[in-house]
Amino acid sequence: MTVPIGMEAGSAVRETAGSGLAAVEGGRETVIIGLEVHCQLNTESKLFCGCSTDYRSDPPNTHVCPTCLGLPGSLPAMNRRAVEYALLVAKALNCRVADEAEFARKNYFYPDLTKGFQITMYNRPLAEGGYLDIEGDGAEKRVRITRIHLEEDPGRLVHMGTPDRPRYSLVDYNRSGIPLIEIVTEPDLRSPKEARRLLNGLRTTLEYLGVFDGDQEGSLRVDANISIRGSERVEVKNISSYRGVEKALTYEITRQRGVLRRGQKVERETRHFVEARGVTTSARSKEQEHDYRYFTEPDLRPLQVRHWVEGIALPELPAARRERFTAQYGISPEHARTLCGELRLAEFFEQMAPCGNPLLAATWVADTLQGELNYREMEIGKVPPARFRELLGMLCRKEVTDKAAVEVLRRMLDQCLKGEEVQSPAQIMEKNMLGKTAGDTFTGIVREVIAECGDAVRDYRAGRGEALNFLVGQVMKRTRGRADPKELTRILREELEPQGT
C-alpha cells in the first residue's frame, strides 16, 4: 500500500522546508528533508566530448580534450545516449518530460571547473513532477520528485597540506564532463533513515535501468536541504556515500536541535559535510552568495524530446520484480525485497533459483550469503555463481549440512577476496577434514545405519530420545571411533528430520 504525502499537486497545501509551521510529530519536532541526488550516467563518452568515461584506473589528466579542459575555442557537443538515459530515469520515476528543455550556464569560479561555469539545466529542466515509492515503516511511502536534469561533472581536487595549514590543490580533470543526472526531491522525507531508503530506491532503480553503477567510487553525490519545521533551512553539501547521508543528516538534526534548545535561531546557510569527522561545517560567505547568473547556454540547442518517451520501453523495475519473485518462486515478501533491493543480488538469485529449491536459494542468497558479504565488505559481483550453485545443489541433495555449508561458503569467499581460484565445495570439504570430508563419509555411514536400524529410527521418531544414543553407538562402531560423538549426534538429528526446509 502506498501512503501519499502531500499529493495535492497544484493545490495550495505544499510543505516546504522552513515553512514556518510549528508542528510536532510523535513528541518531537518534525524534521523536513529534501535531497538533490547527483548520479554519474554510465555512457561510453563524456556528456559534451568524446573522451572516455572509463577513467578510474588511469593516471590523472589522461581523459581530457580541448572541450572538457575548457581550452579557448572549444565547444560542447551533446551526447545522445546521455539524453536517452535521462529520459529512461524520467519515465521510471513517473516524471513529465518537458516539451522543451534547455541547457544553461551556472557561473561560479573554482579550479576544478574548467570553463568558469558549469553546463547544467536551470529553469527548463528535462522532466518534472514524478515520484518514487520507498520502503516505509509498515506501508510504502511515496516521495515526490521535483525535477530531473542533466549536467556535467567538474574535475577532482586533491588538497595538499593539512586543514590547518593548507598549501595548494592538485587537479585531475579526468572527471570533468562526465554526465550527471540530478534528481531533486520534494521535502517529503522525515528522517535520515527515510533519506537513506530513498537513495537506495533511486540507486536500485537507476541500476535496473542500466544507466548507473553505484559501486563505482564517487558515482553518487548528494546535497541535502534540512530543517526542523518552523526554522530556517540548511543546505548540506558534499555528501558522497550512502552511509554518509544518514550520518550527515543525523549530525545536522542534532546540531539544529541543539541550537534551538539553547534558544538560538538556526541560520539559513550552506554547510559542508566532512565525511572523515562525521560533522558538517559552515561554508564560507563567498559560496553563500549564490548568485550564479544563469543564462541559456548559447553553444547548445534545446532538447525537444518529449515524443521520444513513448518509444522507450522500461525494463522490469524493482517493484515488479519483487512481485514476480513472490509469485514465481513462492519466496517471502521480505526475501523478495532484500533480493530485489540490489540488481546484482536479484540477478544472482535468479541464477540460483533453478537449483531445485528456490526457497532454500532465497534463504541462502538473501540471508547467509548477504551476511557473509557484508561482514567482508564484499560485493555480490565477486562471487562465482557456478561455485555457489554447486553448493546449493549439495544442500538440496543433503550432501552437506547447513553448518558445513556455511564453512564452505566462508572459505570460498575468503578465496575470492584473496584473488585465489575458488575451489569447488567438494574440494573445500575434502581439504578441511574436520567438518567436511569427515562429515561427508560419516553422512554416508549415518545413512547406512538409518537404513539398517529401522526399529531404532521409528522409536526416535516416536519421541524416544534414547534411541538416538543407540544409533550414535552404531555409527561410532562403524567409524572405529574416528567421529566426534557430538557432531555425529547433530548429523543424525538432521538426517532423521523429515525432508524439506
Binding site: 580541448p66 579542459l69 575548457g70 581550452l71 579557448p72 575555442g73 572549444s74 565547444l75 560542447p76 557537443a77 551533446m78 550556464r105 557561473n107 569560479f109 573554482y110 579550479p111 574548467t114 570553463k115 568558469g116 561555469f117 598549501r167 595548494y168 590543490s169 587537479v171 580533470y173 563567498k286 548568485d291 547568473r293 544563469y294 543564462f295 548559447p298 553553444d299 547548445l300 540547442r301
Partner: protein, 431 residues
C-alpha cells in the same frame, strides 16, 4: 618574440608572424591567408590580443584553419585585434594598436584590424576575421577592403575563442569580392563539433546581375551620428546599384532605437561567462598557486586583462546578476527578437538592405577616449549580429582620402545574394 611595430610589420598587423604551411594543394594554393589571433592554431601561439593568453600554444586547430590549410593556403601569421574582440579600433590590443595602411596615424577599425591591415597593405592576399558586432565589416570599411559577416550558423565556430557565442561568426576578408567569396566557399564546410552550425555550404554565384533586385534603405541607417559626408558617399553608391537595375525602396527599422543597447548587454553578459576560464591554472600565465584561490584568480585577471575587458566583464556580470537580469539581459533578448522581426518584415518587401557600414571614417589613434563613444560607432553593424543575418562591407569610395564602406545585408543563408550585389557594385564602379 618581437612584438609591436617592426620593419617586417610596420603596421603592427600581426601579433605573431609564423609561416604555417598548407597541408594539401587546393583552391587556395599559392594564396596567403592571415588568421585573426582568436582562431586556434595548433602549435602557434593564439593570444586573442590578450596578455592573459600570451604563451598559450593550442594543441588543436580550429575547423576553419583545417579547411584553409587543406585547400593549399599558407598562413603568414596571426593578426592583431582588440583584446578578445572587445573594441572597434584595435587600440584595445594587449600588443599595441594596429595602424591603418591609408593613414598610419589612424585606427584600422576593429576588432579584426590586423586582418584588414594585412590585406589592405598586401601582407596577405586574404584574411580570416571574426565579427561579433561589426568586427569584420568595420575594419574592412576603414581600410578599404571587402569583408563578409556570414549568416550565423554558416561557419563552424570550433576553435574560435568565444567572446559572445550567440552573436559571432568567422568570416572572410579580401581586396576583391571574388576573393572574399572564394574564401567564404572554402570555410563554410560543415562541422558537427559546432552544435549551432547548419549544413548549408556557401555556393558562390557571382554574375553581377542585380536587375529587378529590391534594395531597402532604412532611414535609421542615415540617422543621428552618421557623418553627412559618409552618408552622401553611401547614397551615391546606392544610386550606382539603382543604375545597375536594382529598385531602391525607402523603409524604416524602428528597432534600431534599442539594438545597440541590446547588443552590448548581450555581448558583455556572454563575455563575463566566457572569460571566466582564464584562471592561470590549465594554460596561460600561471596564477600564484601558493595563494588562496579567489585572491590568485583576481590577481591573474587584474594583471593580464586590459581595462576594456574588465569593464565589459563588470557590465556583463551586473546585467546577469540577481535583481538586474530581467531589466537588462532579459530585456535585451526581447529587443533582439524585435530586431529579427524587423528584418523579417523588411525582407518580405526587399531582397537586401543597404546603408553605410560605419557612421564615420577611421578616427585618429587615441581620439576616442571614453568607452561609450566607441560603442556608439557600432550602431550600424550590430543589428545583423543580433538577427544572425549576413552582412558585407564593400568599399565605396573615400571621404577626405579615407575609405568608406557600403553595407549590404541579406536574408539568413542568402550570403550568396549579398556577395553578388557587392560584386555587381564593385564591377559596376570599375566599368
Amino acid at each position: 618574440m618581437v612584438r609591436g611595430e617592426t620593419q617586417q610589420d610596420p603596421l603592427n598587423a600581426f601579433i605573431t608572424l609564423a609561416e604555417i604551411p598548407p597541408r594539401a594543394p587546393g583552391r587556395l594554393s599559392g594564396i596567403t591567408v592571415a588568421v585573426k589571433d582568436n582562431i586556434s592554431t595548433r602549435g602557434v601561439e593564439t593570444t586573442c590580443g590578450s596578455r592573459i593568453l600570451s604563451g598559450y600554444v593550442p594543441p588543436y586547430d580550429a575547423h576553419v584553419v583545417d579547411l584553409i590549410r587543406n585547400e593549399g593556403a599558407l598562413i603568414p601569421g596571426k593578426t592583431n585585434m582588440d583584446e578578445f574582440g572587445m573594441g572597434s579600433s584595435t587600440e584595445n590590443s594587449g600588443f599595441g594598436p594596429a595602424r591603418n595602411p591609408r593613414d598610419p596615424e589612424r585606427v584600422t577599425g576593429g576588432s579584426s584590424g590586423g586582418s584588414a591591415a594585412a590585406v589592405a597593405s598586401g601582407m596577405a592576399r586574404m584574411a580570416l576575421g571574426t565579427d561579433t558586432g561589426g568586427s569584420i565589416r568595420c575594419p574592412a570599411a576603414f581600410c578599404g577592403i571587402v569583408g563578409l559577416k556570414p549568416t550565423y550558423g554558416r561557419i563552424s565556430r570550433y576553435g574560435l575563442v568565444a567572446y559572445a557565442n550567440s552573436l559571432e561568426q568567422i568570416g572572410p576578408m579580401a581586396l576583391s569580392v571574388a576573393d572574399c567569396s572564394l574564401l567564404m566557399e572554402v570555410i563554410s564546410r560543415f562541422d558537427a563539433r559546432d552544435a549551432t552550425m547548419q549544413d548549408r555550404p556557401y555556393l558562390p554565384r557571382l554574375d553581377g546581375d542585380i536587375r529587378g533586385m529590391r534594395i531597402g534603405v532604412p532611414a535609421e541607417f542615415f540617422g543621428e551620428g552618421v557623418d553627412p559626408a559618409v552618408a552622401d558617399r553611401v547614397r551615391k553608391a546606392i544610386s550606382v546599384l539603382e543604375g545597375l537595375g536594382a529598385a531602391i525602396v525607402e523603409c524604416a527599422m524602428p528597432s534600431m532605437e534599442y539594438a545597440l543597447a541590446a547588443y552590448y548587454v548581450t555581448c558583455t553578459s556572454e563575455a563575463s561567462s566566457n572569460l571566466a576560464r582564464f584562471d592561470g591554472v590549465r594554460y596561460g600565465p600561471a596564477s600564484d598557486y601558493k595563494k588562496p584561490w579567489h585572491e590568485a584568480f583576481q590577481e591573474v585577471r587584474m594583471q593580464h586583462f586590459g581595462p576594456e575587458v574588465r569593464r565589459r566583464i563588470l557590465i556583463g556580470t551586473f546585467a546577469l546578476s540577481a535583481g538586474y537580469y530581467g531589466k537588462y539581459y532579459g530585456k535585451a533578448q526581447v529587443a533582439r527578437e524585435h530586431v529579427r522581426e524587423d528584418y523579417s518584415r523588411l525582407f518580405q518587401e526587399v531582397d537586401l538592405l543597404a546603408g553605410p557600414t560605419m557612421p564615420t571614417v577611421a578616427w585618429k589613434i587615441g581620439e576616442k577616449s571614453d568607452p561609450l563613444s566607441m560603442y556608439l560607432a557600432d550602431i550600424l553593424t550590430v543589428p545583423a549580429n543580433l538577427a544572425g543575418v549576413p552582412a558585407a562591407s564593400v568599399p565605396c569610395g573615400t571621404v577626405q582620402g579615407l575609405p568608406v564602406g557600403l553595407q549590404l545585408t541579406g536574408r539568413a543563408f542568402e550570403d550568396e545574394l549579398v556577395m553578388n550585389a557587392a560584386y555587381a557594385y564593385e564591377q559596376g564602379v570599375k566599368a
